[in-house]
């Protein structure tokens, strides 16, 4: 049975290699924090981290995960950047309906890990693939800057 490291825990999951990681997380493991949005890597709602890098889990077959550590929205608060982003999100009340926000937080945390002081262009480049139909983009940008300052 394939073994995965998810939020620091080893998990054996009986899963066919061509199943998208998002399916495994939500349907087999019941980790429903990661959301299904478009299913074609165009909205960012399903974003998780593989070794700290933001990846769209709807387009990643589990057979391609390899030894990389998976971090989801359930575990990102245990990483330094993830904790900062979550606090900023609460401080500034970034969220409106919330559906896209697990993906937004995962992308923002990955950005902050690689770039502790991102400017507007850096934020555009990292966050443009995460859509928010409530239009919370202005608060997301502020939230990232707030987290970077904290």
């Amino acid at each position: 049975m394939p073994e995965f490291t998810i939020n620091g825990e080893k998990r054996d999951v009986d899963v066919p290699p061509d199943m998208p990681l998002l399916w495994m997380l939500r349907d087999l493991l019941g980790m429903t924090g990661t959301k299904f949005g478009c299913g074609i890597a165009q909205c960012g709602a399903c974003t998780v981290h593989l070794d700290g890098v933001a990846v769209r889990s709807c387009q990643l077959p589990v057979g391609r995960v390899g030894n990389r550590a998976i971090t989801t929205i359930e575990g990102v608060g245990n990483t330094p950047a993830g904790a900062k982003i979550q606090k900023a999100w609460i401080d500034l009340e970034v969220i409106q309906c919330g559906y896209c926000q697990p993906g937004q937080i995962m992308s923002a945390a990955a950005l902050l890990t690689g770039n502790p002081a991102p400017d507007d262009a850096d934020i555009d480049a990292a966050m443009a693939g995460n859509l928010c139909r409530c239009g919370t983009y202005v608060r997301i940008r502020e939230g990232i800057k707030h987290a970077a300052r904290s």
Binding site: P16, D18, M19, P20, G39, I40, A41, Q42, G44, V53, V55, R56, Q59, L60, P61, R64, A121, D122, D124, A125, A126, A128, G129
Partner: protein, 441 residues
């Protein structure tokens, strides 16, 4: 004065004759190999034509099924979303649009009433049962090399299909291209009407490869450039051509532009799965060729194709330069002034392809090192963005089609951004060219 004029006129006539002669008198598709081409019957090995050794004991139905895959009839004779082999697929050519005919056994709208002799004439000579001529969009100049037995195996397969009632669509060619009889003259020059003749000095694997590549696979129909008379220019064999607006790349033995630098394993992976690590994937018409034909071939046939291809003389071409190396991870590149392209890339492309171009999710999304991205025309990059590739939810790599999401200007801009960031040279594809690609696919 008068004498000079006469001399000039004479020189022009001689020059014109030389140019036309060069166009008309083409070397044979595999005469580059030299040697003596002999009758098939006098070549000792009997596995050059027909099915490969793996299927030597197969029943006629399985053999017919294999032979039609070798010739890949389905790709062209099926419309998007249409019934297989019922035709209706448009080909937008400089002279108008031509639609492939229905080749299911329906007696009225298909080929149900055709005799064996009529079917052979169509495939070998490009002549329909009513005596009219087919356009060479139907690759009979290649299929003419197929043996009678293989052509009739194809017919047997087609006649085993359920008949589909679907009338053929007339083409939109204007004068003089609507004159089908002219194709008789074209055929006299450019269709040898000769069955495959093995090269005596070459082994059975090479000859099998030649038969698969030249006769059945008709690879040159896309990969060899055409001259003014729309015939294959065999002197630039496999140096790269065009298919439905997509560039069909150089597959000569050249190490930079062609496949000379590819290992046998890389070629086998590309042909059988449509992808080779670090080399990129087959999309557009080549994606179809892989899905419907090449992926169905046996290992021995893939090996034969590779053996043959590796002997094709090397030609260097501008469209296939040495690919550029990896791109920087930082999104900020002062050298690229293309804000529209960057905006589209960061919103729709970066999540899968990554700012390094190495692929963010799966290796198949790698942009660096790929022919299309290093092609200074950016035609295939734009065609890929318009059409996407694969289907979602299959567990196979997938890219959505962006034709409905972005304007011609946006698609041209992001295609130029991609070549500038990840390719050997920046491209300058225009919105007008993108619009033309939209119409062709």
């Amino acid at each position: 004065m008068r004498r000079n004029l006469l001399l000039l006129a004479g020189a022009i006539v001689v020059l014109a004759a030389a140019i036309i002669g060069r166009m008309v008198f083409q070397p044979g598709p595999y005469s580059f190999a030299g040697g003596t081409q002999v009758e098939l019957a006098s070549y000792p090995d009997k596995t050059v034509t027909g099915v490969p050794s793996e299927l030597a004991t197969a029943d006629p139905r399985s053999r017919a099924d294999y032979v039609i895959r070798m010739a890949d009839c389905e790709a062209c004779h099926t419309a998007k979303g249409g019934k297989p082999f019922a035709g209706g697929r448009p080909f937008v050519l400089p002279f108008g649009t031509i639609y492939t005919p229905n080749i299911t056994p329906d007696p009225e709208t298909g080929i149900g009433k055709w005799t064996d002799a009529q079917f052979l004439d169509a495939v070998h000579k490009g002549i329909a049962p009513d005596g009219s001529r087919f356009y060479p969009a139907f690759p009979y100049a290649s299929y003419t090399m197929l043996t009678d037995a293989d052509v009739l195996a194809i017919k047997a397969y087609l006649f085993s299909l359920p008949p589909v009632k679907q009338p053929n669509k007339p083409n939109t060619f204007g004068f003089p291209f609507n004159q089908r009889w002219l194709m008789g003259i074209w055929s006299a020059f450019f269709n040898s009407d000769k069955r495959f003749r093995p090269v005596r000095e070459q082994g059975p694997v090479w000859n099998r490869g030649a038969y698969l590549v030249e006769a059945a696979g008709h690879c040159g129909e896309c990969h060899t450039p055409r001259n003014l008379m729309q015939a294959l220019d065999q002197r630039s064999k496999f140096a790269g051509g065009v298919a439905e607006g997509w560039n069909a790349y150089n597959i000569t033995g050249d190490r930079v532009s062609g496949i000379g630098g590819w290992s046998d394993a890389e070629l086998a992976s590309y042909l059988s799965t449509g992808h080779s690590q670090g080399r990129g994937g087959a999309s557009g018409p080549m994606g179809e060729a892989v899905a419907l034909s090449l992926s169905k071939l046996t290992r021995s046939d893939l090996a034969a194709i590779i053996t043959y291809l590796k002997t094709v003389p090397a030609i260097r071409s501008d469209r296939s330069p040495q690919p550029a190396g990896p791109a920087p991870a930082s999104p900020k590149l002062a050298s690229i002034d293309n804000p529209v392209g960057k905006r589209v890339f960061e919103g729709s492309c970066a999540a899968c392809h990554a700012w390094t171009g190495a692929g963010a999710i799966v290796e198949e999304a790698r942009l660096t090192g790929v022919r299309a991205v290093n092609d200074p025309t950016a035609a295939n990059v734009a065609a890929m963005i318009l059409n996407g590739a694969g289907k979602p939810g299959t567990g196979r790599p997938y890219m959505p089609a962006f034709a409905a999401s972005y304007s011609d200007t946006e698609i041209a801009s992001v295609a130029n951004y991609v070549t500038a960031r990840f390719g050997a040279a920046k491209s300058d594809i225009t919105p007008k060219e993108v619009a033309r690609l939209r119409r062709q696919n």
